[in-house]
Symmetry: D2
Subunit: 359 residues, 4 copies
């Protein structure tokens, strides 16, 4: 029996958020995966299709409570557990799962920042399992594929960092290869659809507040800033001594993320043919699409798919990199499944070859 027939059993902790339902949508069509557990404290006992009628006839699962007994059972029966939870949850439960040989993918933030100080600073709590954190692999396949294949624990990247790191990877490659191509500070001016704020009852994300409206938030500091910096400085480059300025905004749309990255170039940098450089950088990556010169991206072109598209505009001494993705797919659940496919030796595209929805 080939890999294509291998079956794994999966649990999802935190199944009532948008990341959870998106995992269910994708995994319901994955031939190698059976989702057996789906937790929710608030909805324990209810059918998932009661909360998400879109899943009627798709999933027969019921939410179960997040008890110790459940984690024990998952430790015995699961090959993989996804955490689609607020920070603090995964680091509590991951150690015993990993010790039992269960692989873990955390879609939350518990294992993204390697610096304990940065974690404490940005998330307001002390990390409870630094030794496990040290083993965690940052799950950005286009950067870390080999490590992911061997990992026991994956920190699934944040949505903004995915666009920033993949958008800047060729620049940093050039910086390493050619030296000193970037002149000064890189500006990441990012825009996200509102599903990025999660499924929750807050006035600030209610329809009448955010529809027909555009705003900035986290301008003086956002948790994804250190994650982007770590991605650029540590994961991609030994030392990438450039400063970053990251400013996120909220767009009145459901899904979609658009990062406009402004890179001032040195003379060396301005001589690079960036269109070609980017195209060749990603020529073997199915999920990263470098658009032809002159074509600009929109978020709709990736809606409900795992694609991330990049466009390049090069002027005399200024490189503008435009990156789009669906924040819930390549920015969250899709990337998690991509990591899963790599970890278990499935074809990386399995269940992920989703055609974007237009219009």
């Amino acid at each position: 029996m080939g890999d294509g027939m291998k079956q794994i059993t999966v649990g999802i902790v935190g199944g009532t958020g948008y990341t959870g339902v998106e995992l269910l949508r994708i995994l319901s069509r994955h031939p190698n995966v059976q989702v057996r557990y789906l937790t929710s404290r608030a909805e324990a006992g209810r059918a998932v299709s009661e909360i998400f009628p879109s899943l009627r006839s798709v999933s027969q699962l019921h939410f179960c409570d997040m008890s110790d007994a459940l984690f024990d059972e998952m430790a015995q029966t699961c090959d993989l557990v996804f955490f689609a939870t607020p920070h603090g949850v995964a680091m509590t439960h991951a150690p015993s799962l990993v010790n039992s040989g269960v692989k873990v993918i955390d879609l939350g933030a518990d294992f993204r920042l390697q610096s304990l100080d940065e974690f404490a600073n940005w998330y307001g709590m002390t990390h409870s399992c630094p030794e496990l954190l040290a083993q965690a692999v940052y799950g950005l396949p286009e950067v870390n594929r080999e490590k992911i294949a061997k990992a026991a624990l994956i920190a699934n990247p944040g949505c903004y960092p995915t666009t920033a790191i993949l958008g800047l990877k060729p620049v940093i490659d050039a910086e390493k290869q050619l030296g000193n191509v970037v002149d000064g500070r890189i500006i990441i001016d990012a825009k996200s659809g509102i599903s990025g704020a999660g499924r929750q009852g807050k006035i600030a994300i209610s329809y009448a507040e955010v529809a027909d409206n555009f705003s900035a938030y986290g301008v003086s500091g956002h948790r994804h800033t250190p994650e982007i910096a770590q991605g650029l400085n540590e994961i991609l480059a030994a030392v990438f001594p450039k400063k970053i300025r990251f400013v996120p905004h909220l767009v009145p749309m459901i899904r979609g993320m658009f990062s406009t990255i402004h890179v001032p170039l040195t003379d060396t940098g301005s001589k690079v043919d960036w269109q070609s450089y980017f195209a060749s950088s990603y020529q073997h990556e199915y999920f990263v699409d470098v658009l032809p010169s002159g074509v600009l991206p929109d978020t709709r072109s990736v809606k409900a798919s795992n694609k991330l598209r990049i466009a390049i505009d090069q002027q005399a001494d200024m490189l503008t990199i435009l990156v789009v993705q669906d924040n819930l797919v390549k920015g969250a659940a899709g990337q998690a499944v991509q990591n899963m496919n790599i970890m278990f030796g499935f074809d990386e595209l399995t269940a992920l070859d989703l055609v974007p929805i237009t219009p």
Copy 2:
């Protein structure tokens, strides 16, 4: 000094909802009104412009807590108090205000239903001041102007009932004048923008839930059904023995209400020239606009204004009445100010001659 110069002092109880901020928007440009009190339990002490930055440089008010002392003070100093509160609040505080000679306009539901049983049935509480309820005037100026002028307490109509009663008034007039024009049941298929659900943190009205989505609610029973029935049967007609079916829907837009009223006609009814009948019914009403034959309304044409527009489509034995209004203005705060103008002898259009916003 003429009426134009008369100044009144006003309090608003419940100032953090959309009806409250809309009252402030309108009253801020009313030459005869000074809003002195604005209450909010949650935001007491904060400037209103902190919560609603749109009111920076418009209102210097701060929220005050809803204490007994405050109500005592308002009883001494106010000419009028608006309640923009959930049901149950106004009926607690209105009696002492009215006894002190302060006029009250309740934008909530406490004084809309004259039947104590219906009130208890639909609002889940016993009415605490039935004797005051008996004095309350239903504040629909185009129907009840003379009573409003003399009222001490106004029940400001619900948004749906405003469209239904004004949309059907000429039909009921014809029923009274000609006899038996309606054949069977009247269907009121209504659609509302999401601000009608109020300013609150609930998953069900969060952007990602309701954007790009259309739904029905309250299909098996909605609180506005008895209010519409009361309006048609008791206020307009001695007896209007026709059944009503009211079904509300939620539209992914901020403001706006659209009621499609389907009226089956008898032979007598089908001989009426309804376009003329409606046009002459409302020819002297500034805030009710009967559109020319063949013109269909949209909610945008009344956005942010106190206008209610009606279009008529007449087929062999079927009359379709299309009614639009801004649910927060003619459906709530604007109508409340219209009632205030009538109660205090101001020109009825004062501060209400708002030009709709297009686009």
Copy 3:
């Protein structure tokens, strides 16, 4: 080699509309279908992925011009041709294709109305091939599955009629079975997302005109009215002597259709347990989902899928039927593929088992 392996070659006439791109999205994942031709007068020669970047890496097709030579070639090489064109196009080209043994599915309106007078009246042109019209099968699988399986030419239903006919089928079945269950006129108050108006440059459907706005249209007469009447009176019942009133509205959302059907009941009708009646009517239909009692539908629950969901609310003498579908899928391209699957003996669910997108 089983049916599962059978391969067919397909052409799509009119590939730049939303129905065309939706056909491509669905067919790109159909294991038995190769789309070889895709026409567009305006975009001839361009890659389809230039117009629809969502199809980059999904389709390598280029638009070809709609010439006689092309139709000759398709007559030789295609098993099936879809027309996703304005009325008048399919009836010009279908006869020679059908004569050559090519099956045709017209997503436009040329073969929907069997009455030549009605066609001329509503579409403003004389039908050019009445003999072919007489052979056309109305492609509503849940009603006409056996005829579809043998058809050479399918009239794919309009979006509104799909909701109205499937929503009312159990009522008409009851009418036939029990006699006289409906008392008077049936009101179909329908609401559509804006993609239903097609992909075109018109002020009336531009964003700033229709966003945050709700309107009615076609109130005095809409082309889908005779199609619904034909569906109810001729296809479903020998004679269904009930009048219909159909009023469509435009909702500020991209996809989605919601029909609220108001059915007054006779005494006989009010004794039927409609929830059970509907549930058993559709228990074997995968794409029609009768919701449990008390659950109300929203359009989001079917977004980008081929599902049509129905909810029932029954009151004393009033039945309310709420129907939702994605107008571009079950209301157009999905239903066309469902018809194709039936015509060619493929599993009816092939490529159509799409999970709705939430949020």
Copy 4:
């Protein structure tokens, strides 16, 4: 009779666009203005309220054709003519009006760029009246108030340049006062609602294309770039030798513009207390509101009003300036009326003290 009673007669050339209808909305409540002419080639003869039902009972005007005779008549009878037209129209007709003593405010682009080469380069036509261009005053009141008061011809600023120039004015003042505060390139990452694209029938701005979508445009070059550069370099500073990078984006909302301006600071620049600097810069400007430290703006807070709000975020060596306005008001029609008020000696706030619409 004081200035308050002075009456002027006004014509509007190009009355069917969003800028035109917004001018009508504002001027309809201006006590000193009578709009007598409103032109439209396409709609000549029709009532303005047929095209814009929001103006029923507000304006009785009919569109008139744009003939020579009309311009002769306006030259005789008007005090002021607004051009709300595509480029090329105003420069054809303004000279004879100005020669007749009629003041002109061009809301289009004909008189914005003082460089004939830049004009030809960006607008694809030779300027037809360079001598008049030389007299044109750039109508940004907060910068040019005294020149505006004396001008015969006003170039009303573009929407993006209004945010960029007012957002950067204090920085340039500091540059002039303190020397060398900006370190390198200023990035203007701007986002506009879709009404900025005008009222026209184009697929690219149709609802189904732009709703739930976010895109960039004009990345490789936009007509407002030279206008911003001119504003910073020539109007504000003798020489402001800093480079600008301007990238505009399209937001799925009707009205609103949000410019995020990223300014890298030198050591000198980082020592400035920018919050105070901005606050004192604009302390006497009613229409420019510098938000308190820590408060971030959203476009809703200025919707349908003439306010422009600015927030400042200062980090070690990076200043972020966030600017919001309603693109149709302070970014177009409102600013034009503000210019008019200054030119004719009316109180600058007349008809412009509009309360933003929330929600």
